[in-house]
Amino acid sequence: MAEGDVSKYRMVVIGGSAGSLDSILKIVAAVQEAVDVAFVVVVHRGKSGDSILTDLLSSQTKLVVKEVEDKELILPGTIYIAPPDYHLLLENEYTFSLDASEKVHYSRPSIDVTFESAALVYGPALVGVLLSGANADGAVGLKNIADAGGFTIAQQPATAEVGYMPQQAINLTKVSVILEGEDIGIFLKTLLK
């Protein structure tokens, strides 16, 4: 296989608030052929440890969907969900670590924390997607991804459920593309080919 036939991206991190669920479902449905890539979803949500989010995402994709367990090995073709009430970090040896330290932007899991950590490990092989939300979480993280040479996508604030979060990122850094929520999945599908 010639160089360029394979996407250089190996990890996609997606962050949003509860209101971004629709976009997330569309994304996971669109990327199900991307078996060489791992996905991490960080959603702001309540403390309770129910499995609704995992079940919802599973229903949309052939890829494995699971809530992260501490020190779990990161495998391609898998969609990992950050568990409620823990920050999700990535280690150099491609495992996850959980961390129950102080909230960041009133959030745990915090999108910034996961994005920054993923940028350190994956650098240019990382794609960051920041969706709808009402606080500034994720903006610095998306900048970290851009600074490390990764590809960054912000949801179009004007048409997002709540545009504040992606707008903060756009103000802070030059994101690679700004897309409508419903177009992100198709775009990723091509990017990851």
Binding site: E69, E91, N92, S97, N144
Partner: protein, 273 residues
Amino acid sequence: MENSVKDEELDLLLDELFRSYGYDFTNYARASLKRRVSRLMIIDRFPSFAELLYRVRQDPAYLTRMVEELTVNVTEMFRDPQVFKTIREEVLPILATHPFIRIWHAGCATGEEVYSMAILLDEANLLHKSLLYATDLNPTAIENIRKGVFPISEMKQYSENYILSGGKHDFSKYYTAKYNWAKFDDRLKAKMIVATHNLVSDRSFNEFVLIFCRNVLIYFDKYLQDNVLTLFDDSLEKLGFLVLGSKENLRFSPIARKFKQLENRERIWRKVM
């Protein structure tokens, strides 16, 4: 990420902490450590990593703060109330048949977990024959256990947790409010033994029927997790119980085959062999 600590820098710091002070953080989960160091550099306004390292080398008094900030000390009373409910309903009736109940809270931070357990024992009429060993790496944190004071602002949340754990009383009967602090009943403290203990370097020091170690192992790498779980196995009597944090597991550890998780899937295991 300009202010993020590099791997080589972290190595230098860990090396210094070990050589000069005997604290071994090398097998901690690095991603979390890096965040802690970066955070400390911001809070204590170090313009560069070199200056942080210089401070650690020159100022032994700064070590206490360093250790405090490298580790995560976030805790609460009756954290994960369902676990305490299970302990009330399934563990305490078994412990009640013992002449003497020795419990170890490893990595108990400022003691919220220990006081929660003492309250449970008190309500089951078992406190008089119990001893709670409260240990942590961090000397400042455990000092608070001796004081028995917690922020009054947390009491609403703790009282809700207490009810969810199956508590039937008015939670405020356990403390007296003084300015911004809730001072807990000395009767609870009377059954606690407080000491520093480092899970990395210190050994087993007694045999227990119940060991808590919650939200400590997630900060360790797999190797250190396995070592510490073995230490717990060595410190637990047969048919004793081990309680871990809500995202911690002994499933893939060397001691797994000796333990059986309780039916309701709470993070409580019984040593069956």
